[in-house]
């Protein structure tokens, strides 16, 4: 469905955008299969209405948003962000959504809250990957992610409900997903049902599965290689075939230098 939104001048770009059909057919969403083309094939019947998103934990004002509220309670805007996958490819995607900070503020966090934990829907009847280890890559579901509260409150951090002017297709994390453009794509948890504020660092699925390969922070960082491949460059997915393959240098924080102060004094090789 088409969405009502504004375009903020700050988040436009001159970079070539990844075409809609590539953004929506090349997805890591293991709940629907481990192959990149699986989610587009297996998620088409996924029901996102009714939906309930709960914001709870260390907040004064716990909230629940129903399906309609996801796109209507907060003003939506379009933001064109670079998306860098930990597998060393990247896209440029026009997301539509609202700042996570706005939602958290509405729930009035307690001063003791330090982290935000996210949970994906657990519904093995609808998500074949949650039902079968072979389909879902042997991950323990539901998928969970986490951010430090200051990361979550950063104006770049987005809860997205759409892309290219329309509501999200199921394979991209409908009806609502996280987008943190300076972190690797796997931090962008999809089909969220719960946002919990806490004082403990929450678990994050890939970090639990392989802590030496995927850190809690997962900031895009060309100086810290994945143990199995280099993170110095990335393959930008736009248009054109094999001979127009674009390999570009990866930038610190995926080029979003404004987040650097969040990590002042931290050893990013250790907290990768």
């Amino acid at each position: 469905q088409p969405l009502v939104f504004t375009k903020s001048a700050k988040y436009q770009t001159s970079e070539t955008q990844t075409p809609y059909d590539k953004v929506t057919t090349y997805n890591n969403f293991y709940e629907f299969g481990t192959d990149k083309s699986d989610p587009a094939e297996n998620a088409q019947g996924f029901k996102t209405d009714p939906w309930t998103l709960t914001i709870d934990g260390m907040v004064e004002n716990p909230l629940t948003l129903d399906h309609g509220a996801l796109t209507k309670r907060f003003a939506l805007e379009e933001r064109i962000y670079r998306m860098r996958c930990v597998e060393a490819w990247s896209m440029v995607i026009p997301w539509i959504g609202f700042e996570l900070g706005t939602l958290i503020k509405a729930a009035k966090p307690l001063s003791s809250a330090k982290y935000v934990a996210f949970t994906t829907l657990y519904d093995p009847a609808q998500m074949p990957g949650q039902k079968s280890r072979f389909v879902g890559g042997g991950i323990n579901y539901p998928y969970v992610e986490g951010l430090r509260l200051d990361e979550a409150m950063h104006p770049l951090t987005l809860l997205s409900v759409g892309l290219y002017g329309k509501t999200l297709p199921p394979q991209n994390g409908a009806p609502i997903r996280l987008v943190v453009p300076w972190k690797y794509g796997f931090k962008g948890i999809k089909s969220i049902v719960r946002v919990t504020l806490t004082d403990q660092q929450p678990g994050s699925t890939w970090n639990i599965l392989a802590p030496d390969e995927y850190g809690f922070y997962a900031n895009v960082n060309p100086h810290v290689d994945h143990p199995r491949w280099s993170q110095k460059t990335e393959r930008r997915i736009t248009t054109g075939g094999l001979f127009s393959t674009k390999v570009i240098p990866t930038e610190m924080f995926n080029g979003y230098q404004e987040v650097a102060p969040l990590y002042q004094g931290m050893d990013l090789k250790r907290f990768f």
């Binding site: 293991y30 481990t34 597998e87 042997g138 393959r235 075939g241 094999l242 390999v247």
Partner: protein, 218 residues
């Protein structure tokens, strides 16, 4: 045995079948390259091509190893005439896999290639499999085979090691253990099962060999 009488393939039949195998394996490769060049191979043509050539190599290695049990089971001894050809195609697909990696992923950065081989065990494993396949391909000519005598068979038994390394490379390249490679590992056990007698003989012959004389500890 499946057939009452051994199946013989006449020369024209051999020619026709071999041509079909060539057409299929070359055609499939060419078609996939064409799709990659014209951006019809998924969102990321480089990844698409790497997957196709990599899995193609593994499939062809399996095909090579299935030919001799098939020849005995049917029986149709003439099937053995296809084994070298299929094995060489396994090498050809592996070479395409490596070239795709070098040209399109590493952008012909040879310094990066050598550091990746040195730094990343799964790349080293894949590269070793390729080098082994190269050695097997070079020595696949009849003249060399005759010259090598008994050592030829010893060298060409390395095809099992090749398969093992290729599967290790495949499993290791993925983010989780649970996936398609598991099916291939199971198939490997099946292939080894068809060779159980050979394996048993090899094991017994090793055990019969006199143990090397060890220096007595004083």
């Amino acid at each position: 045995m499946l057939l009452k009488k051994p199946l013989r393939l006449s020369r024209p039949w051999l020619l026709v079948l071999k041509t079909l195998v060539h057409l299929y394996l070359l055609g499939y490769l060419a078609l996939t390259f064409y799709q990659a060049v014209t951006d019809q191979l998924g969102a990321d043509p480089v990844q698409g091509l790497l997957n196709f050539t990599g899995i193609g190599t593994v499939n062809l290695l399996f095909a090579t190893l299935t030919i001799s049990p098939m020849a005995r089971w049917l029986p149709c001894g003439d099937l053995m005439r296809f084994r070298r050809m299929v094995g060489l195609y396994a090498f050809a697909y592996a070479a395409c896999h490596f070239s795709t990696y070098l040209v399109f992923e590493l952008q012909l950065n040879f310094a990066l290639l050598s550091s990746e081989i040195a730094k990343r065990p799964y790349i080293l494993v894949g590269f070793s499999a390729l080098m082994l396949l190269l050695a097997l391909s070079i020595t696949s000519f009849m003249a060399i085979r005759r010259k090598m005598g008994k050592r030829w068979q010893q060298l060409h038994n390395m095809v099992y090691l090749c398969l093992f390394l290729a599967l290790l490379h495949y499993s290791w390249s993925l983010k989780t253990v649970w996936g398609d490679p598991l099916i291939y590992w199971a198939a490997t056990l099946l292939v080894l099962y068809t060779r159980r007698q050979k394996l048993k003989n090899w094991w017994l012959s090793k055990r019969r060999k006199p143990a090397p004389v060890a220096k007595r500890a004083s």
